[in-house]
Symmetry: C2
Subunit: 631 residues, 2 copies
């Protein structure tokens, strides 16, 4: 049982591992983040690598085709080093990193990120820099160094701020070396004031903050100038935790293993820090000049970020360790900004309705409206909020990862090469839109929705979702019946891109879970769909969503099109509002306290609603009058 | 330049040091704390050791007598290891440690320490333990773990307390392992509330605090039960920093050297922790059950305790790094109590009027009186406060260490074997009181005062302090004229105990500095001595002080005897009040802000006052009517 040297190409990254180590773990140790939806269980078939040479053993798997076998392609998670070995990383298996991620069309990017912070919020960031030119001490005026600082700060309305011992220890030197001209960074939170930094000279015009959307799939960070609230830049990266599974439950399970929590924590912190590095480099900002950050994310992501055991999130009765977060120290969490910088976390309601949803409610302003409004954020879970200024109710429907392109045959994330829209003419001729305008290599969530809708319009699937042989594109494939979305001649990899009968059933289960959640909230409150005046669609998913087709498959309720509003990344926008305004910070807490969480597993009607919603669009035709009128 | 092994007897403590290391440093490295008033400069002659065998070199010194030389006795600080060496520690050179210190007569001890906390202060310690039996989470009640705790705490009037991340990380486990029965420790300070510990089970009746007097010479710690404010025990130890000098200036100078600050910090923290260990052991209290401490001490001691560069304390314009202290974390300072425990520090006015004096004002209640009152605390410096409920003024007179038994030939601290009182009959026959009722080995401050007064009464010294040959006890000695206080036949070491002409001049300078300080305050405020209604004497020094004789030599003003009140250790008592009552905590701050500091070096009249006070009792006879009436 000696050590094996594994060399990963094309970057020639070398790593030593004990004999018997799987190549997915070896890659991780080498700092290479391979895609793995299942978290290394040999199920998803994403972590394919090509063995160039060396000694290894591999477990049999159905995920490798005969042709791939011939080309020495193996699943990294099921292949074990038995000696020195050379491995080729395949481009499609590698998680995109940093700025190489193209999630959105050019131009769309800014529109998406620049969700405006609602008007009427005060501009009051949690940190403030004040330049002080202090009088030198003399026998007539020999007050202590800290008192001299505090005396000057009182002129700015800051009385007796708190201060940490390690800063006090440096104070006498800094004050004297700077000839008593210093810039003080003050943190203001929960009615407290704290001196978090004292720097020589006048740096008062260099104060930055971060709005951080900690997503299961992607991490998006905006750098904000805290002088004026302007966004300096925004960067995005895939969450490296994805190497241990796409969905929240895989991540929690992994974190329950010994060392797992530590690893998950470091992966997400590492991703955030890389994005920060990029932002800092591109915008000529030093890490020390960033004095505050706000994280918005689902409860699992936040638990992992803070290195808190997430295991009770997935165990009945699903209790988070905490849902209101104290103001943290960035260094303590591991986030690379000014070590004394603050880290805020947006509060969440429950294990499955986190701070990202609070952010959404904050940004949409549902909680201030007389009219009823609804917000939906579709990812692996569909979080749904209904309410107005008097009440708010929310739930989380477990949709599974189909809409995120996982667990479906040719599914992929909404990145370059994904089919994101689809039209079918005369049951035969197809046209599609591809992200990045390249040859397609797979289908993302919005693409699947359009495909299912078009199949339904064309009568190629029936209301139960069964593929009917009403098109030459329908055929029998290795996994049963399938519909060819794009032929190999058109695709980036030369293979046909298909949607299978199994895929369709997966997608219908996902949409049924979400629609049943919507119906449960509405039913619980005894209202009718028509009473909902506005329907917000949040989350990255929303961007390419075709509303009519989403209604057609029964994912969204049959409301007038003009009632739907795409909100883009509400989690990021909420984090930005939280960073910029004390009003937003106190409203976020108010919203969280106000929201009633409906646990769907306790609702008897939920399963009934779910079963009814498994049909296209639904068993009850009267719920979808526009569909049955048109078609 | 190899390594030398130094073995210290009688404890056979071994240590390896580079060749050329002085034996004082080697002893320190071995954990042996030798007395050294001068801090290793070869001046005080206290760190005598006997070389048993081995290779060494020694610098010449006048502090070793011919007889001592014959017995292989050397000054540790001037003797350097040149090979392996065996060294005998002499009992008189070793600093007393822990409970072996007998500072006071039996019985007096308790009286001294148990300065009652003034009545009318609320009982409100800074930490509070609350036992909570929480409802188990269920699907109907699935709020987060922290929210569940906070919900229960709201029933005790504690709303949204702060909490550190590392505690949150442990919370889910603790709550479940304890079956939701936990004891929460809450810290309350500056209007803030913080959860600092969560323990399984009901430990609410085990909550302790420490009152810590951080003195230059001694460290005194009382263990207080925070349930009822009762003192569980008190222990004392010499401050191990004394190995680097007796007085504050030597300590600051040492701390200015590289590593010096770190060493000084560790020495004082080490002393405090040893005393805490003794207290914990004797009283069956676990360190974790101690959740708060309050330190009261002079500015230099507090700077060194907190590891803050003290160098600006001794440089004009004498500015401390800070004088109001944030609530600190005990672990951060290194104090061994519950790692999340609080450490408060009593605020002080200036570099030379520290928290020990604030404590004194707090305990005496000067700041609440209509009448004028004065407080004096004599150590190396004499701190003096004058005032009433309307105003407070204070100063610090640099007396030098003579009253602490340093810089005077047979001087010693007020420990067992010190002559503490003295009477002379017919210029010849002497009687004296010795601490511990043993044969005398030296003279402490109060002894010196009585000796000078008796010499003055008997006409053996004139008003300028010159020894006159009016007693057979006056003779010429190696250092000039001297008066034999105790003959060798009576003493513990068989040698004569004397007071020399130089000693007398030292003592007169010390008393003149203090009296000039008193006069400066009184003069500044334009009042007469007779207006002072009460004169408090604080500090360990006060205990044996003979008031009449102190007036006779001109140390204290000539007030009616009944106006003088001995207060004992007001620093410790103040720390205790601060620990037990929020009123005391806010009053201490109020007192500090209210006190005006008079910098004597800026007062033109001070030098004049000092010169006038160099006489016995003073040049102005009218200032001491009782003396010139009686004698």
């Amino acid at each position: 049982m000696g050590e094996c040297e594994v060399v990963f190409f094309p970057d020639e990254k070398k790593v030593k591992v004990p004999s018997g180590t799987d190549l997915l773990s070896a890659a991780l140790k080498a700092g290479i983040f391979l895609a793995s939806s299942c978290g290394g269980k040999g199920i998803c078939g994403r972590c394919k690598v090509k063995i160039i040479s060396g000694q290894f053993s591999a477990e049999p798997t159905g995920k490798i085709s005969a042709e791939e076998k011939k080309n020495n392609i193996y699943l990294a998670c099921r292949t074990f080093a038995r000696g020195d070995i050379r491995v080729q990383i395949l481009p499609q298996a590698k998680l995109p990193e940093g700025s190489s991620v193209v999630l959105f069309e050019k131009g769309e990017e800014l529109k998406l990120f620049e969700v405006p912070v609602p008007e009427g919020f005060s501009f009051s960031p949690p940190t403030k820099k004040i330049f002080l030119s202090l009088p030198e001490p003399s026998l007539q005026d020999s007050v202590s160094d800290l008192e001299r600082l505090n005396r000057a700060l009182r002129g700015y309305g800051i009385k007796n701020p708190d201060v940490d011992l390690h800063l006090i220890r440096k104070l006498p030197q800094i004050l004297r070396e700077s000839n008593w001209n210093v810039t003080v960074t003050i943190a203001l939170f929960n009615g407290q004031k704290k001196i978090i930094a004292v720097e020589p000279g006048d740096t008062s015009n260099r104060n930055f903050g971060l709005a951080i959307d900690v997503g299961t799939t992607t991490i998006v960070v905006s750098l904000i100038d805290l002088k004026d609230g302007k966004t300096v830049g925004t960067e995005i990266s895939f969450n490296r935790q994805a190497t241990h599974g796409d969905d929240i439950i895989s991540r929690i399970v992994y974190a329950e293993d010994k060392e797992g929590l530590e690893q998950m924590h470091h992966l997400v912190v590492g991703t955030i820090n890389e994005v920060i590095n990029t932002l800092a480099y591109k915008n000529n900002v030093r890490h020390n000049e960033i004095t505050a950050g706000v994280c918005s994310g689902n409860m699992t992501m936040i638990h992992l970020l803070l290195k808190i055991d997430p295991s009770f999130l997935r165990r009945e009765p699903y209790t988070p360790a905490l849902n209101f977060f104290p103001v943290l120290n960035a260094a303590e969490v591991g986030i690379r900004i000014n070590p004394a910088g603050l880290l805020h976390v947006v509060s969440g309601v429950s294990s499955y309705v986190g701070g990202d949803i609070t952010s959404g409610v904050l940004i949409t302003g549902i909680f201030q409206q007389k009219n009823l409004q609804m917000l939906i954020d579709v990812g692996t879970n569909g979080e749904i909020v209904l309410g107005n200024k008097d009440w708010l109710i929310c739930c989380s429907a477990s949709a599974g990862p189909a809409f995120e392109g996982s667990g479906v045959k040719d599914g992929m994330r909404a990145v370059s090469g994904a089919i994101r829209s689809f039209n079918l003419f005369d049951s035969e001729k197809a046209s599609y839109g591809v992200i990045g305008e390249v040859a397609p290599v797979g289908i993302c969530g919005s693409g699947y929705i359009e495909i299912v809708a078009e199949l339904f319009y064309a009568g190629i699937i029936d209301r139960s979702g069964s593929l009917l042989e009403k098109s030459s594109r329908v055929r029998s494939g290795p996994d049963g019946m399938e519909f060819v979305v794009a032929y190999g001649s058109e695709t980036g990899h030369g293979r046909d891109i298909v949607i299978t009968q199994i895929d369709i059933e997966n997608l219908l289960r996902a949409k049924a879970a979400i629609f049943a959640g919507i119906r449960s909230l509405v039913g619980k409150m005894g209202i009718r769909f028509s009473e909902i005046q506005r329907f917000y669609i949040g989350g990255g998913f929303g961007n390419y969503l075709n509303i009519e087709k989403s209604i057609a498959i029964g994912l969204l309720p049959d409301l007038a099109i003009e009632k739907f509003v795409f909100m883009g990344n509400t989690s990021l926008a909420g984090a930005k509002a939280f960073l910029m305004s004390a009003d937003a910070r106190s409203l976020a807490e108010e919203i969280t306290r106000k929201m009633t969480y409906l646990e769907l597993s306790r609702e008897n009607s939920y399963m009934e609603e779910y079963l009814s919603a498994l049909f296209v669009p639904h068993t009850s035709e009267e719920l979808f009058p526009s569909i049955f009128k048109e078609h």
